[in-house]
Every structure is written in structure tokens, then in C-alpha cells.
């Protein structure tokens, strides 16, 4: 980063700076709202923070598939099988 004439080893975090990493996925978590008990474990455990909570209404969670890499942690921690892995394509 250039700053006041100096060359500094700085960078700014930007959404998607490394490209749409969701393209790495071979399986995707699919949400079934009817089984969700709103425990928030998937939101807490997601290593990429791609799960958002919708406290105001509608489906309780939404998944950002642009950056979800399909690791399956959310499916693994879900106590009610409201999340299941499905093959891509």
C-alpha cells in the first residue's frame, strides 16, 4: 500500500478479494426451514461466516453460496438435520 510516499506492507480486507471461492465446492448445504429450531449452531460454527441469521422473519438462515466452500461443518453440527449436504451440479 502506498501512503504519504511510503511503501507499507498493508492491505485492506475486501469482500471477494480472492475470487468467488464457492466455486471450489463439490457439495452444498441445503436448508430445510421446517426442521430448524433456531439454535444458531450453524451460524456459530461456520468457518467462513457465510451463514447469516434472519431474526426479522422468513427463512431463519441464509447461506452465501458465492463463498461457501461446502465443508459441511454446519451440517455436522445441526441437531435436527435442518441442513443436509447435496452434490453440486
Amino acid at each position: 500500500m502506498l501512503s504519504e510516499g511510503h511503501i507499507l506492507p498493508l492491505s485492506k480486507p475486501v469482500v471477494g478479494v480472492s475470487g468467488r471461492t464457492g466455486a471450489w465446492r463439490i457439495q452444498r448445504p441445503v436448508f430445510d426451514a421446517s426442521k430448524c429450531v433456531k439454535c444458531r449452531l450453524c451460524w456459530l460454527y461456520c468457518p467462513d461466516s457465510v451463514i447469516d441469521l434472519n431474526e426479522a422473519g422468513g427463512d431463519f438462515i441464509s447461506i452465501d453460496y458465492d463463498y461457501c466452500k461446502g465443508c459441511g461443518v454446519c451440517v455436522s453440527v445441526c441437531p435436527t438435520k435442518a441442513l443436509l449436504m447435496k452434490p453440486e451440479g
Binding site: S3, E4, H6, L8, P9, L10, S11, K12, P13
Partner: protein, 394 residues
């Protein structure tokens, strides 16, 4: 201003207080310990409004003050010898991230065999990290230079950290009168802290991420070199301004003693430059020899231009080193020779390795070395040996 009797270590602590440092990280090591002990006392009595962080190692001490500095405040730590070596990696992080920070190093030899006395092995091991490195001759210079380093490191032309060094025991634990400037004078001398960036909650930045293009790694390093070059001017300016405010000028990167008509030169740095002044007086007044002393005050940035200027027509130069790079020579000698050669100065230069591990070198020893050296050069026009080890005595 007030005159007080202070050890070198208390002179450092006093300067740190006057600089209104906000965070001090402490880990004890002889002979540095009384610096941070004194600062702890100042914080305890309310004399200094700062946070003391007791850490579990020197590595953490540097990491803690690095974090504090990155967060936007003046921070300080001090160490010596093996503690400094343990801190080594963090020194590179601080300098590479261009974070202004000041630390004190009480120079002490490195084991084995175990030893607590002064030499410059510890600080010379930090030569390439990107810190400004200054050597002082007495407690007054230590106090003044500590304060100046805050100004110099926080100058936007520099933005590099700096180390003030003082020799173990000879300076750290020896008391002498020190003129302590008023707080108002120091406040006028030290503007509010400036730094290239501040880590703030809610405004995330990443320091040190791997760049996509490796050239950026190299460019960061080149930029540090340019900043070191600019620092030379900033050091001179700080000395000028401090001289105006206090009447005390120590010289910029170097101080030259009785150099004007000198033909033979002593080059040295640190506490023993005081003994070298005595030797110069003795050699001139008793033997009529035209000897001068070049005291290297800043080793980084290295004062190449000053050395070339003073040594351009020297008949002989003797460089005293208090540390050695096995397989090469003393660091001050290596860089002096390199500077002179790069500008075509052909004066004979000899390296005397002395005072390592605290082996005492008296003014009479320095005089004897110089008498023999001058005789040798006048007879042969050169030195028989480039490097000699000197243990004192006849």
C-alpha cells in the same frame, strides 16, 4: 532545568517519563533491569501515567509494545544481551511494518562463557533489522538521545523504530550529573505522536499479508533503505533543535574531537569514546601527535559521508571494535573500510579488537596502541596487520 545525579539507566527512565510514554512492557535482564524498575516505580507513584505490562519473555515484551505503538501511543521497552537475541524476530516485524518505537539496549556480551559485562555483540546482531541505532558516551547524551529518538522515529520522513544503547555498568550503573530538561521544554520539542497508520476497531487493515507480487516484498525493503538515508538529515535537525533549546549539541551522526588538523584518527563508539578523548589529549599534549577522534554516534544509519569527509586525507586510521564477526572483522571496521573504499579514500586502516566481554581498556592502553600504530605507519606507510586483538596492558 535541574541537575541531578543519575545512572545511565535512570537517565533513560527519566527521558521515557518526559516523553509521556503510555505503555511500558517489562522483562528483567541484567544490566537493563533498573530502567524498567524505575519506570514501574514512577507508574506506581503516579509520576508517570502509563500502563505497565509484565510479560513472560523479551519476545513478548517487544510484541506488546509493538501492539501498543500500532494502536497509536508511545511505548517503550528495554533489554540486554541474550534478551535482545530472543527479541530479534520481533525487531524485524516492527521495522518492516514501519512502526515508530523506541527501546533501550544496555549492551552486554553474549555467552558462552557466561558474562554480564559490556561489549557490542548483542546490538551488532540487530544491525540489519531496520532500526536506527545510536551509541552514547555518558548519561547526559543517553537522556538527550532517548528523547531525540522519539522525535526522529516519528518523523514522517523516517517512520522507523530506534534503539538507544548504553554500555553495561560503565554507563548503566555509573552515576554522574545529568541536566534534566523541563517538561514544558520536552513538550515543545516532541510534537504529538505521528505514525503511518493506526490500528482502530471498526476500520480493519491487515499488516504483513503475503503480496501477490513478490516485488512488493522487495520494494518494502528498498523503502526502508530510503527512509534510513532521509533519517540522516532528520537526526541532524533534531540535534540542531535540541541544541537551540538546551544549549547541548552532541553532533549529528558523528562527533569529531580535535579533528581539524589531525593526521591520525581513532574511530570508536560507545562509552569508551570518553577514554579516547583522554587519549587524544595525552597524545597531542605529551607527544605532539596530531591525533583526532571520530565518535560514531549513529551506527544506523551509518555515517559514511562524515567518515569520508574526515578521513579523506588521513595518514592512518585505527578503528576500535567492541565486537567481532568471526570469519570477518569488527563491524565498525568493515563499514568504515567499505565507506572509504567506495569513495576512493586509500588511507591505511587498522582494526583493533578490544574490550570484548568487558575487558577493560584504559586511556593509557588506547594511547599505547596509537603510539605503536603511528610509528608503524610512519615507518612502513602501511599497517603490517589489518586486524589485531588487544587485551590491554603493554
Amino acid at each position: 532545568m535541574v541537575l541531578k545525579t543519575l545512572t545511565g539507566n535512570y537517565a533513560v527512565a527519566t527521558a521515557v517519563k518526559l516523553a509521556r510514554v503510555k505503555v511500558v512492557a517489562t522483562y528483567p535482564i541484567t544490566p537493563q533491569t533498573t530502567i524498567v524498575e524505575k519506570l514501574a516505580e514512577m507508574v506506581e507513584t503516579g509520576e508517570l501515567d502509563a500502563e505497565m505490562i509484565r510479560v513472560e519473555s523479551e519476545y513478548s515484551a517487544m510484541a506488546a509494545v509493538y501492539g501498543a505503538a500500532s494502536g497509536g501511543v508511545r511505548a517503550f521497552t528495554a533489554t540486554s544481551s541474550h534478551g535482545l537475541l530472543y527479541m530479534h524476530e520481533m525487531l524485524w516485524w516492527v521495522a518492516g511494518s514501519r512502526m515508530p518505537l523506541v527501546m533501550a539496549v544496555v549492551t552486554r556480551s553474549i555467552g558462552p562463557p557466561w558474562n554480564i559485562w559490556t561489549d557490542h555483540s548483542d546490538i551488532m546482531g540487530q544491525r540489519d533489522a531496520g532500526w536506527l541505532i545510536t551509541f552514547s558516551e555518558n548519561s547526559q547524551e543517553t537522556l538527550d538521545e532517548t528523547l531525540k529518538l522519539f522525535r526522529i522515529t516519528e518523523d514522517e520522513r523516517v517512520y522507523l523504530p530506534g534503539i538507544v544503547t548504553l554500555d553495561a555498568f560503565i554507563m548503566s550503573h555509573t552515576s554522574e550529573p545529568v541536566d534534566i530538561p523541563d517538561q514544558s521544554l520536552v513538550d515543545a520539542f516532541l510534537p504529538p505522536r505521528k505514525q503511518p497508520y493506526v490500528f482502530k476497531a471498526g476500520d480493519p487493515i491487515v499488516m504483513g499479508n503475503m503480496p501477490r507480487d513478490l516485488k512488493w516484498n522487495m520494494m518494502v525493503r528498498e523503502d526502508m533503505c530510503r527512509a534510513m538515508e532521509r533519517a540522516k538529515r532528520v537526526i541532524e535537525e533534531a540535534d540542531e533543535l535540541w541544541g537551540k533549546l538546551t544549549g547541548r549539541k552532541h553532533g549529528g551522526l558523528t562527533d569529531c574531537y580535535r579533528c581539524e588538523d589531525a593526521k591520525h584518527f581513532i574511530v570508536g563508539m560507545g562509552a569508551w569514546t570518553g577514554d579516547m578523548r583522554d587519549a587524544v589529549d595525552h597524545l597531542r599534549d605529551r607527544f605532539g601527535l596530531k591525533v583526532g577522534l571520530i565518535k560514531v554516534r549513529y551506527f544506523r544509519p551509518f555515517p559514511s559521508e562524515d567518515l569520508i569527509k574526515w578521513l579523506n586525507n588521513a595518514m592512518s586510521v585505527v578503528v576500535f571494535d567492541r565486537s567481532v564477526s568471526p570469519g570477518a572483522e569488527g563491524p565498525l571496521y568493515i563499514e568504515t573500510v567499505s565507506s572509504l573504499a567506495s569513495s576512493g579514500v586509500r588511507s591505511p586502516v587498522k582494526n583493533v579488537l578490544a574490550g570484548l566481554a568487558g575487558v577493560d581498556l584504559a586511556p593509557a592502553d588506547i594511547s599505547n596502541v596509537m603510539l605503536a600504530s603511528v610509528e608503524e605507519v610512519e615507518e612502513l606507510g602501511a599497517f603490517k596487520q589489518r586486524v589485531t586483538w588487544f587485551y590491554g596492558g603493554e
